[in-house]
Chain length 347, copies 2
């Protein structure tokens, strides 16, 4: 019962009167070991509360059981959802997860990849969409290449333009198209969009998809009906505010993120515009509180947790497949009370 400060495999082996090799075998369930030795090892390990040194194991096996996650910021609801899915699956597969946040610094992302290469993580999951920046992309690809050359797998959750990685994502463009179709189906003809910074590809795709579907329906979306803003509440507030000055005739506003929609809602309320009475409003993402807003928010629900789960499945599946493979999981429109049919009704 008086155990040394750190119980090693040798301690267990000694207590069980076997060799370290044998102890290792029974503890790892490898090979066949005589029943009585087996018992003794197991008993010794239990009574000593042996926990194998993960570093020694990783070193000896030249591989570890940890998957590294790099995200922009854990406080982002989308990241939280994805990471939640990752952690669930990791837990099922008995993998540990190591998380690093870039807090918006692209250089830091490259640094994290290097660090994770040193940590010998089994896979790196890049959570969150990217942006266009050739110089950065090249540096990042170099770092990723060094990592994958060592046998590591990397999969992106979300679109990462220019990176040589496998991807699991939900179609932003497709989702926005579906949403537009639904809104048009409810009779809306005059739209405005609260767009994000063009450099954020996921958000740009949402705008593009929305516009495409309107075009298909023969509906206009003139530049003055598109207001850009930061992809958060305040950005949505400001963008909506600007639109209110010039947006006469609009019956429905699409915000490319739910966060922006939340801000837009506040702006509309502030200006005495009833939602959905005078103006319908839709967001994108279905963050947890979308349904608790007043009115509850119509939006495109992203399968965040599924994306996370799928990403680790792809990352750990054996057999190196070809690179740059893209897998999609569809989102779906969630119709809530922030959207009402126009008086004209369904067409």
């Amino acid at each position: 019962m008086t155990e040394p400060t750190r119980v090693t495999l040798d301690d267990v082996a000694q207590a069980a009167a076997v060799s370290a090799a044998t102890a290792s075998r029974v503890l790892n369930g490898i090979g066949t070991v005589r029943a009585d030795l087996r018992e003794r090892v197991l008993a010794a390990a239990a009574s000593l509360s042996y926990a194998p040194d993960a570093h020694a194991q990783a070193l000896a096996r030249a591989s570890s059981q940890v998957v590294g996650v790099i995200c922009h910021d854990l406080a982002d609801p989308a990241a939280t959802g994805v990471v939640r899915g990752i952690m669930r699956t990791a837990s099922e597969l008995d993998l540990r997860v190591s998380i690093s946040a870039t807090f918006g610094d692209p250089e830091r992302e490259i640094g994290h990849v290097a660090a994770m290469r040193g940590q010998r993580v089994r896979a790196i999951l890049l959570v969150g969409s990217g942006f266009e920046d050739p110089a950065w992309q090249q540096a990042m690809n170099g770092e990723l290449g060094r990592y994958t050359a060592g046998g590591g797998r990397v999969v992106a959750v979300g679109r990462r333009p220019g990176l040589n990685v496998d991807t699991v994502r939900s179609g932003d463009r497709t989702g926005a198209r579906d949403l537009a179709r639904t809104l048009v189906g409810l009779g809306h003809r005059d739209f405005a969009v609260l767009a994000g910074p063009p450099a954020l590809t996921a958000l740009a795709d949402r705008l593009a998809g929305f516009r495409e579907e309107l075009q298909r329906a023969g509906l206009p979306l003139p530049p003055e009906r598109i207001a850009e803003g930061a992809p958060n509440r305040d950005g949505g507030y400001a963008a909506a505010h600007g639109l209110l000055a010039s947006g006469a005739g609009v019956t429905c506003v699409f915000a490319v993120t739910d966060e922006m929609a939340v801000g837009a809602l506040a702006a509309l309320r502030h200006h005495g515009v009833a939602v959905p009475g005078r103006m319908s409003l839709a967001g994108f993402g279905d963050i947890p509180f979308a349904q608790d807003l007043t009115p509850s928010l119509t939006t495109l629900a992203l399968p965040l947790e599924d994306l996370g789960r799928r990403a680790v499945a792809v990352a750990v599946r054996s057999g190196h497949t070809r690179r740059n493979r893209v897998e999609r999981i569809a989102g779906h429109v969630v119709l809530r009370s922030s959207v009402a049919p126009t008086p004209g009704g369904r067409r």
Copy 2:
């Protein structure tokens, strides 16, 4: 430029024509190394994109640079806030963070501690409040004891009754008292409380603190004015619903979590009770969307990120202090539009 799949310290040493010991010294900035050798090592490391094997380092140094975080569920806004603070500080201190979630399974928490002991994490951070369960506490203390015996530090963020750990927390009781004082100051005399499961100590403390302050003010809080519910939106909805049947005369409802307040708001709206016109409502926690609700929610803001930052600071500070030390960071009342003075006004 043709680098081996895995660049080791020996590769760097060879390329620089020095011994591994010397290479190690310059890379770690330890001891003094002749300037030209230094240069050569640095150049070699850079050109080979050398990243030290973290496992080998941890093994050789018998310590690692990772801090382990165990939380209930990352999707919990409170956990997210704390973890965010942890990650920021970890990033500043150049520590990696490994996260595990229990998803509500106490046994799993013990297992995670054992796993982290094996991972030789430098510190374990227990994020989230606990509950009373002597058998579990004993088992957990045993596991924690084994970990700390190996030199590890553990600090709890939130109250963990019965565990031998250092704690960083915000006073739930004190916060609830502050909130009650504010509400009473606005003229309210007839309160109801949406309480959580008594086993969750943090929530029980909030109820206790609230009640204490009412008592001090000579105000009643009869049992029929306390409705228990799950500490989430639906629990709040159900509890508020129940209260509406019997709660005549109440002018202010306190929900022990913001999530419950969100549900209560929906229930009140559903029953046509205007907030704050006919009923004021306050929550606890100040989750990100508290300010975006309609009406925006009065609540007790918890310093989540600070708690996280402080926890890692405490965990890595050198010099083992005495155990079971408790450090508090005060929250503060945030008065928003879900609360209005009663017609009677300030007393």
